[in-house]
Amino acid sequence: MTTQTDSGPATVSLHSDREQLFRVRGLTKTYGVGDAAVHALAGVDLDLYTGEFIVLLGPSGSGKTTLLNQIGGLDVPTSGELRYRDLDLANATEEDLTHYRRDSVGFVFQFYNLIPSLTARENVALITEIAHDPIPAETALEMVNLGARLDHFPAQLSGGEQQRVAIARAIAKRPEVLLCDEPTGALDIRTGIVVLEAIERVNRELSTLTVVITHNAVMAQMADRVVRFSDGRVHSIHKNSQRAPASSVNW
């Protein structure tokens, strides 16, 4: 396994075959004011490209989730530059953000966050209803090997199954970006691998830029690039010459 350390943002030459999706410069996010102020992001520089698989590592409280929220348009930064293609996410209106999230971003969260009153199929269909050019809910669920559990309610599914429904829900709209915040955090190893395989497959088959936050350093082997975070900044970026398949990842 080869690793390479960059001190600055990755250069375009490394990704000549790929289109740049995000440009992040000097991004900060501060919560609270005065003495109580928390600088969750303290100047992040980062570029992200189509089809990449990024793993985001870093100690608890280092700002990973905060960054993901800014990238996903769930929240707006305090200062700095944040661009998705031509869209200035840092200064976008609520309406722009809504459209951006609707058309371009898929989320997967640690606690699945399914709508408990809707079945697996309905949870996915809920999103495909408002998407432009979605994959049928059933197809999306088959991609995560859940074709057989379509009509189960979240309460009738195991954690891993629920997380796969969440992935199906996230990818059914064919997003350009898939953002996963500790998707395996609540799962055991074997289930975690199944979920990672699903994410990997989506990344490969749909060429979706995939950013996965994890506390599990071994998952870094799956990534094109590994971004290490600390104290609200990008500490380092490693580029893997070779991506290891999820099934081979050893916990």
Binding site: N69, G72, L74, D75, E94, E95, T98, H99, Y100, R101, R102, D103, V105, G106, F107, F109, F111, N113, L114, I115, P116, S117, L118, E122, A125, L126, I127, E129, I130, A131, R169, A170, K173
Partner: protein, 788 residues
């Protein structure tokens, strides 16, 4: 096809069906009231309008002493007059077989040829009078029904003192007598007072009025001004003893229906407002709870690109499904209620066909008003949902911030048990929710006060009228004024314990621009039979000089004690007098003016005459008295208090019971709904916490105590507030029934308060019991799982 978000909505609703239904039911109560009262107003108004049009109800009416028939055509030529109908109108006494008391009535003439010009009759059964036939009569329906008279039956009448036998040809209705009642009587008695129609020739000859008329009605030409025509008519008829023309606004039958419509209008606003405010409160509580539960779901929807608008619409739909259910239930409840009340109105108001007519706009209003209430109710909650930043919502709600409760900080902490502490801290932690619970319970209590207060009020009126004011047993009127000596004859009738004579006269009373036409009652200064009382029920002696009038009349005229009122007497020499207003009578029905009899007679310049008397009788000798009375030819009408009272109670008791039951059911629905809703929310919100208590070893009983303690504390705050609120509702709603016909006094009894307290307490206990049962079924593992 439902969208998937709608499916979520349906499932959320199914899960909360108990609470959704509770809200819908409360809403339905208000909407049922709205649908009912609007439909009744519509039924009464449209039926009356069509009846008036089809049967040519007149616009102006005038009674006079006597005018040759040619005068009628002069009236017809007055500017602004479209049609005229003149005839004879006379008081008669009746002798009904089987009725031991004398009855009286009013006879109207029908043209000998052709149909009446105005105020045409409607033939309910039998046939019209045969042309030139004699000894036939048409009878008003209310009297016929009360005395079980039908076509072909015989009836004896004393026409101008001469007894005559008549055969009933038909039973009829007249737009002039939609409400058949003795003029001036506070309450109707159809058994002893009826309206009759006979050929002109027969009545006119009997009353020496042949070739003349003493009653005239007219219709206004389009655009004519009522006031101007009345002035012209009065001017013209002055010579002929005109008693003062009056418009529909002073027509006794017409105002009774109008008053009823006014009361319905009050109901159509007052009650729905209260009920829908409660519903708005409840829907707010349910939705706030739902939104708190679904914080993360809302965040997910936003993260996946649902716009704020879609989320707002989603939760609004939740409210509108409840509104839709409430509206449908309300209409379903309101329509049959209105139908039953229509049947009740048929006992009071005589229309050819008073049928229930659904006011379609009532349904539209109901839906609109309910939507409005719901929107107000959910506005805040839904806005909070829309404002929720998606990233924020993804984090679990921060742990509740507890601190020692206020009562504990006062230093009595060690007096308090653990359960009490948990309960108090909980209330303090969620002050808004506690406030909503208190508000809901207080509203329920408040609503319960109204129906009983209404019943007590009607009871007070009846007691007031018959025990405080009218202390005689029987009163009679004379055909013509007679010398005061006649009084001595009355004293000699069998069984008379005491008798008092009076002199009534028609007059127009005026102050400033306002005037009313009524009977001036000339009575003994400190009579024991018909008493004039003030607010404190102390008898007001009639003064030597000046007059007392109903407080309501003073309010209408805008007059105060000390003001000079103008009295235009409409009989005899028709003097116009100016008298000081010396006091206000706090009567509850009708409008009256009282003057000392001798003083009145002096003012009228007719010597000391009387035209009626009242009696207190020895009960045993009563049949004898009545038999003798039937034989006195000069008596024009008789009012027997007991039969009046009995017949009133029979007809009114049913309707009052109906109305009271209706209000009571509604109020109870609210009480149960509010408490149930609250207990459910409280349990749902705290399932985790309570389960935790169970897990760490509290018994289910101890955990229950926490909940109950909380409810009891809230109840203790809510009940007194509710009683206060109820006092306010009762004051507002009952105070609005303040018409010329009837003024409902505000009566609030300890029993009423106790009843409201009891019902709300029982409702709370039952709801709490339901919740406690669920508590013992609490799924510990389920409740402790990550929040939904």
């Amino acid at each position: 096809m439902f969208s998937h978000l709608d499916r979520k909505l349906l499932r959320d609703l199914t899960r909360l069906k108990g609470q959704a239904l509770a809200v819908a039911l409360v809403m339905a109560c208000g909407l049922a009231m709205l649908t009912m009262s609007r439909s009744l107003i519509y039924s009464l108004e449209s039926t009356r309008r069509e009846y008036y049009e089809a049967h040519r109800f007149a616009d102006i009416f005038v009674a006079l002493k006597r005018a040759p028939n040619s005068v009628a055509s002069r009236v017809a030529e007055l500017p602004g007059v479209a049609g005229v109908d003149a005839g004879v109108s006379a008081q008669v006494t009746l002798d009904i077989p089987g009725l031991d008391e004398p009855a009286s009535g009013l006879v109207r003439s029908l043209p000998d040829r052709g149909e009446k010009e105005l105020n045409r009759l409607f033939l309910r059964s039998g046939r019209w009078l045969t042309p030139r036939g004699r000894g036939e009569v048409l009878v008003g329906e209310a009297f016929a029904l009360a005395n079980q008279l039908g076509p072909g039956d015989a009836i004896a009448m004393l026409l101008n003192g001469r007894r005559q036998e008549f055969r009933i040809a038909g039973i009829v209705l007249s737009p002039e007598f939609v409400f058949e009642s003795r003029p001036g009587a506070a309450l109707p008695d159809n058994r002893t007072y009826g309206i009759f129609w006979m050929p002109y020739e027969e009545v006119a000859r009997a009353f020496d009025l042949y070739g003349a008329f003493n009653f005239l009605s007219l219709t206004l030409a389009p655009g004519a001004r009522e006031h101007a025509v009345i002035t012209a008519v009065d001017q013209l008829l002055k010579l002929y003893g005109g008693r003062g023309a009056f418009g529909r606004g002073d027509h006794p039958s017409h105002i009774r229906v109008s008053d009823e419509i006014r009361v319905l209008q009050t109901l159509s606003i007052g009650f729905p407002v209260v009920f829908l405010s409660v519903a708005a409160f409840m829907i707010n509580a349910v939705l706030s709870r739902l939104l708190a539960l679904q914080r993360e779901q809302i965040a997910i929807l936003k993260a996946f690109g649902f716009a704020n608008r879609q989320i707002v619409v989603h939760y609004l739909k939740f409210a509108f499904v409840i509104v839709a259910v409430g509206t449908v239930l309300g209409a379903m409840g309101g329509v049959p209620l209105a139908k039953r009340l229509v049947v009740m109105y048929e006992m009071f108001f005589r229309f050819p066909a008073l049928e229930f007519r659904l006011d379609p706009s009532a349904l539209v209003w109901a839906a609109l008003v309910a939507t409005f209430a719901a929107t107000i109710g959910v506005h805040g909650a839904v806005r909070r949902a829309a404002k929720l930043p998606p990233a924020e919502a993804m984090r679990p709600e921060p742990p509740a911030n507890y601190r020692p409760a206020f009562v504990e900080r006062t230093g009595i902490a060690h007096w308090l048990s653990h359960t009490f502490r948990i309960a108090v801290r909980n209330i303090e932690r969620r002050p808004m929710q506690a406030a909503f619970t208190v508000a809901g319970l207080a509203l329920a209590t408040g609503i319960l006060i109204v129906p009983n207060s209404f019943r007590d009020s009607v009871k007070r009126i009846l007691g007031f009228q018959w025990d405080v004011i009218d202390r005689d047993d029987i009163s009679i009127g004379l055909l013509e004024p007679a010398g005061v000596k006649v009084g001595h004859l009355f004293e000699k009738l069998p069984g008379v314990v005491s008798t008092e004579v009076f002199r009534n006269t028609a007059a127009r009373i005026q102050f400033g621009h306002k005037s009313r036409q009524l009977a001036i009652r000339g009575m003994t200064a400190d009579g024991e039979h018909k008493r004039v009382v003030d607010k404190a029920l102390h008898q007001l002696p009639l003064p030597e000089h000046g007059l007392l009038i109903s407080a309501k009349l003073a309010e209408i005229l805008g007059a105060r004690v000390g003001d000079q009122l103008v009295l235009e007497i409409l009989e005899g020499k028709r003097p116009v007098l100016t008298l000081p207003l010396v006091g206000l009578a706090d009567d509850l029905t009708g409008l009256s003016a009282y003057v000392e009899r001798r003083a009145l007679n002096r003012l009228l310049g007719e010597g000391d005459v009387i035209n009626g008397a009242s009696f207190v009788l020895d009960a045993a000798a009563r049949p004898n008295f009545l038999r003798e009375l039937k034989g006195i030819p000069k008596v024009s009408w008789v009012a027997v208090k007991d039969s009046l009272r009995a017949s009133f109670e029979k007809t009114t008791a049913a309707s009052i019971n109906l109305i009271q039951t209706m209000y009571l059911v509604f109020a109870t629905v609210v009480a149960f709904g509010v408490v149930y809703n609250n207990a459910r929310i409280s349990l749902a919100e705290r399932a985790r916490e309570l389960a935790t208590l169970r897990v760490v070893g509290f018994s289910s009983r101890e955990v229950g105590t926490v909940l109950v303690t909380e409810l009891v504390i809230l109840g203790l705050v809510a009940l007194p507030l509710g009683l206060l609120l109820g006092t306010g509702f009762a004051t507002g709603i009952i105070g609005m029934v303040n018409t010329e016909t009837v003024r409902l006094p505000l009566v609030l009894t300890a029993r009423n308060y106790a009843f409201a307290t009891l019902v709300v307490s029982i409702a709370s206990v039952i709801s709490a019991a339901v919740v406690l049962r669920q508590l013992s079924h609490l799924n510990l593992v389920g409740a402790l799982k990550a929040p939904e």
